[in-house]
């Protein structure tokens, strides 16, 4: 089938952008950055309130801000950016027109409308239920509606991605197997379908409950199914950001994976086992059996950990091989010392890779062990861990990719060339320290989420109401 469109060949990267795909990648990436801005402003409110010497916000505002921070960062910033990555991996890397661009625009509109409805619901103050929104604690119905509309839009975007893969194969725009980066993005998309459907399965009945159409949603069933959305959304991120690690290794250093088959096998392990790690959130739940917890969080989760360790070896290994081919052969680490640290695309990715493995990966396995989980369950250790995976791992990687996309996709030179190389180091190392002290505080027993960790205000009336007696 011939479709009228145009392809732009970027003189800086050699990549070819199909007209509609280019616009869709731009709008999704830009919306993601707006969500990051909102989430970042909210982060200031969270940090300055949990800092005991400052304790900035009153309790009700704090919980509202924390709810919005979680959703804007983990859901909206990440998934808008991932849709941009999916379109890039399918259309640009396969030199293919995007399938059904009108439907892709409709998907974007649904995602945007859903995100806005959800944010409005939170900022109206009746939906400070945290990102987890456990029933029977109810938010305003528009909170759930926004999430469901967003999820439908994101599912449609995944469909457009899969459709584009089919178009590329039919129109023979590439030879042999699809590139590894596209394969990784496909992994992310498959996990996204599982994740978003899980979200729909539990949030739709909860929406009906908020309308009074359903009188009961089982809290334990909610927790189990919700975590198939909550934790798996980070698994989309992991598959996407590891794809970007491989992409940046190729872009900046011309690196090729050390063993393509092994890397692809590791992505397949993610599809099969990574979501099961969600079970570690309910390790302290009395309603599920010990056997279920142990099978999901040890035997099955270790396959996902194995996959991550394969990538952790494969990506820097590919960079090392490429650097050694350029002549940086002295000793064990000349390849690393002479890496392009002044290029924020590279430095973001490498700082992300090391922090994700050492701070996010190791602590994730520790807290995923049933017995050890008791040490830190519901403490600030948990957000310490997931800021190492979500922020150091995914956000920093997406920042690095953005530095690549600004000149290549948006056709703009980065301003302040002296500042850009510093930013990944400032942000990355501050996040290293932030997550370490959070986990330290959690090990000492500081509760997560809590406005007043010392419970000094427990005898005060809250929101004009007396505490329960």
């Amino acid at each position: 089938m011939t479709v009228s469109t145009t392809y732009r060949t970027c003189p800086r990267s050699g990549l070819q952008f199909e007209d509609q795909a280019e616009k869709l990648i731009k709008i999704n990436a830009f919306t993601a950055i707006v969500a990051l801005l909102v989430g970042g402003i909210l982060a200031l409110g969270v940090v300055l309130t949990r800092w005991p010497a400052v304790h900035l916000l009153p309790a009700d505002t704090f919980y509202m801000v924390l709810t919005a921070h979680g959703l804007d960062m983990l859901i909206y910033w990440m998934i808008f950016f991932e849709v941009a990555v999916m379109y890039f991996a399918a259309s640009t890397l396969l030199r293919c027109r995007i399938a059904t661009p009108r439907i892709a625009w409709a998907a974007y509109a649904l995602m945007l409308v859903g995100a806005v409805i959800n944010n409005i619901a939170i900022f109206q103050g009746e939906s400070s239920v945290m990102m987890t929104s456990y029933v029977p604690m109810m938010a305003h119905w528009s909170f759930y509606l926004g999430l469901v509309v967003f999820a439908v839009g994101a599912l449609v975007a995944c469909g457009v991605f899969f459709g584009t893969l089919v178009v590329a194969q039919r129109e023979k725009t590439y030879e042999g197997s699809m590139p590894l980066v596209t394969f990784g993005a496909m992994t992310a998309a498959i996990i996204a379908v599982f994740t978003l459907l899980s979200g729909a399965i539990i949030l739709v009945p909860t929406l009906f409950m908020s309308w009074g159409l359903v009188d009961h949603v089982d809290p334990l069933a909610y927790r189990i199914i919700w975590w198939a959305l909550g934790h798996s959304s980070q698994q989309i991120n992991v598959a996407a950001h590891i794809s970007i690690w491989y992409a940046v290794a190729a872009i900046v250093l011309g690196a090729k994976p050390m063993s393509e088959r092994v890397s692809r096998g590791a992505f397949l392990l993610y599809i099969l086992f990574l979501q099961l790690a969600s079970a570690h959130h309910i390790l302290a739940d009395p309603g599920v059996s010990t056997e279920w917890k142990i099978v999901n969080t040890s035997y099955f989760m270790y396959f996902a950990v194995l996959a991550s360790m394969i990538h952790a070896l494969s990506v820097p290994g590919a960079m090392e091989v490429a650097q050694r081919n350029r002549g940086f052969n002295k000793g064990l680490f000349e390849w690393l010392r002479k890496a392009p640290w002044g290029n924020p695309v590279f430095s973001s990715i490498f700082i992300s890779l090391v922090g994700f493995g050492f701070l996010g990966g190791i602590t994730g396995v520790m807290m995923g062990t049933e017995q050890l989980n008791l040490l830190i369950h519901n403490t600030i250790y948990v957000p310490g861990h997931f800021h190492a995976t979500v922020v150091i791992g995914t956000t920093l990687t997406f920042m690095g990719m953005t530095y690549f996309l600004v000149p290549v996709l948006f056709r703009r030179e980065i301003i302040n060339p002296g500042l850009a190389p510093i930013q990944p180091f400032l942000f990355g190392f501050a996040m290293y320290a932030f997550t370490i002290v959070m986990m330290g505080a959690g090990t000492l027993g500081v509760s997560r989420r809590h406005w007043d960790m010392a419970f000094t205000a427990m005898h005060w009336p809250m929101n004009g109401r007396a505490p329960p007696t």
């Binding site: 145009t6 392809y7 293919c96 820097p316 290994g317 064990l332 680490f333 050890l372 030179e413 932030f434």
Partner: protein
């Protein structure tokens, strides 16, 4: 410890704000760059194009001793941290 969480958190947020400034600032005020050639069809990949490694596939042998050393450091850290936490648990939770 929570004071340190506050201080490091604020520094990280400054780092994040710097990113937003650089990206949004570049989109608004960055020098416009040449968009390149536009055609009605895609062009088959030139194997010498800068994007070639990204858009093709292939394998290299295991010749990365530095990465192997880093991986060993990682595994050692992993083992130590894991057992330190079992030690914490052992101190808190007596078996008898």
């Amino acid at each position: 410890m929570m004071g340190l969480v506050g201080i490091t958190g604020v520094i990280a947020i400054i780092g994040g704000a710097l990113f937003i400034y650089l990206v949004v600032g570049s989109l608004l005020w960055g020098k416009k760059l040449d968009g390149g050639k536009v055609s009605n069809t895609f062009v088959f990949l030139n194997r010498a194009a800068p994007s070639a490694p990204l858009q093709t596939y292939g394998s290299a042998g295991f010749v990365a001793p530095g990465t192997f050393a880093l991986t060993m450091i990682f595994l050692l850290t992993f083992i130590l941290y894991y057992f330190v936490n079992w030690k914490y648990l052992g101190q808190l939770w007596g078996l008898s």
